[in-house]
Amino acid sequence: MSARDKLLTQEVPVIIINMIYGIGTITLPSLLARSAGPDGIIAYLAAVAVYIIGTVLIILLVQRFPNHGLADYSPMLLGTVPGFAVNLLFTLYLIFLVSAVMRAFAEVTKFFLLPRTPIEAIMLSMLFTTSILARNGLQPIARACQIILYVFFIPFLVIPLFVSVFDTGEFLPLFQEKPAVIAKAAYNSIFSLTGVEIMLVLGSHSENSKRLMRPALIGVAIVLTMILIAVVLAFGSLSVDQTAKLTDPLFEMIKYVPVPYSILERIDISFYTVWIAATYSTLVIGLFTASHHVAEIFKLDNGKGFVFPLAAVVYFLALIPKNENEVLAFNIMLGAAWLALTFGLVPLLLVLSKIRNPKGAKKQMQQPQKKNRKANP
């Protein structure tokens, strides 16, 4: 593995934050408010708890097989054919995830920014630009994500402006909904948090896979806190009722912020920029992970050649939903797939790696990767 393909320890949280923070954050407050009212905050915290457990499981699995990706060890643990099937399913999951993000991005962009531009043009231009970076390898992606990360924090600079419109009473009463309702709201919100599973592929590129847990959890904690702040601001400023009614409450929330002396009267425009950057990084990382995973399945040196074909598949899949309700239903299905992956496949592989303990294989796995196996040229 060349230095170009290595993921530095400090880049791991950056990649995780960039992957998770994006399109789902915009709709999450509405989803939570609609499903559980003020208890939406409780539902989010429940989803966070589940997500952190899932992250720990994923990283534990990555640590069991340092220097190797899911495509390498799943056939060994499950058998060649089931392992291949699992890898194929995981590839499909990644492609569907990128497609969902792509479509949701195109929907919102069309509605808020470019109402006359065909959705196909929005998607093609975004896929083209993301594919270019995705083809260039992990290190350029990590560098780009580091730059984009600073942009994510810009919206948080306006938090003091919310003081005059923020109502803490909006979070009351708590625990009024039945546990089943809160659980369903948490389940519905999982899609907005998906992303850490990319470590099943990229984790092996970390410069120290054995010590991946800390940076991964730091990344997850930072991004989940950022999303929590966004949800709290939406509930407290717009009210739970309004948040539930709006499709994209974070954009409306920004329009409501009292900006002193009309400086930046249309402050919402700058937020669209941040949000596009966030979606861009999610798509780049998603495309790279999917293409690299395919390359690993077929024991190829790198996934560069798969980026454009996968982008084409993403494009056609993203065109399938007829309207935004179908997009939402599809996203919830992806949340279910994430749960199945994290709490079904990952624990299974972990248990199998303990029980079967393929000594020879494990020994082989713990050796450094072949020199000619690269993430990218």
């Binding site: 531009t117 009473g169 009351l172 329009k255």
Partner: protein
Amino acid sequence: MRRSRFYPLWILIIASFAASGCWDAKDIDRRTFVMGVAFDLSDTEDQLVMTIEVPVLTSFATQTHRIADTRAFVAATTGTSVAQMAARIETRTWREMFFGHTQCIILGEDLARESILPIIDFFDRNPRIDRRLALFVAQGKADEVLHIKNPLQPLVSVHLNQILNTLTNTTRVVKRNFQDNLRDLESNGDTVLPRVRSTDTELTIAGGALIKDYKFIAWLGENETRAVAFLYNRISGGVLTVNLEDILYTYAIRSASTDIKPVLKDGQLTFRINVKTEGEIIEAFYRGPGGAIEFDIPGIQSKLNQEITDEILHLLTKLQDLRTDPIGFDRLVYRHYPKFWNQHKENWKEQAWPQAKFEVTADFNIRRTGILKEVTIYERQG
């Protein structure tokens, strides 16, 4: 990989496509920037009249304009829905209507009596609306407000919004924006909107329009509206005048806050309302004989407390009589006593709300009396 020597050419070709604009390119002169919009009932079959105020941008662009120059274009049309009327105006101006800079929506009194819900839906749904715009109810026809000719204020809509947002000399108006109104309305259908009145050259914002279940039901006087402003916790300034021993003391509010707490005891719901303000005496107005006397600060404070307490109690009694809850006491009950709320939410306005009791206290604090320590009264000599 060996790069083609035509590589830069490809970049140029792709960039020329990407940089040549998009489907949504819209020049500024091809948009109608609607600064204000007024709605009235129509006598025709179309039912509604929409009047818009649009700035004449060229007159703002030049530095050599005269006062007599036309600075605003006011157009009106009839229709059955807001979107339909907007489309009709577009056919006359050939420019796309843009509501992103709209400063105010004015509803005619008669229309508001029918329902304000159909009108605000269009704006609530529009992603380009600035949610800080102001919603007014006009006493009389709404379009008359947009037709006033004030030589100092070329755009009525901007004028209206600025008056509302810079009103510091009076507390007799509720300073709230579209989003605040929506918050109330979507909670229980009730709110208070500022009242606007107009003459040929001037407009006044004072008092309020009481909205119940999205329908205008009564005007609130200026003192009642001040009580509403205190209960909304939206007092940022203004003056109050009280009479103590024939001297009129004017108190300028510098800060104010209102705390409302519901208390449920033995099935009886009571709201404890505490108003706190800080400010200073800016005038002592006196007519008649007398002499230099010390300020009776406790006496003035007590009088101010009494006046605001009475105003708030008067307002609350009126709201109970009208079976309307624009302040959102229902939300407070829901937050603090969810079980009680669940038992009474179906008949809140009709039964539980009218039976609620109130304990109102006010705490006015006079920090200064200007730069004078005494009330100086001229006493005729000899």
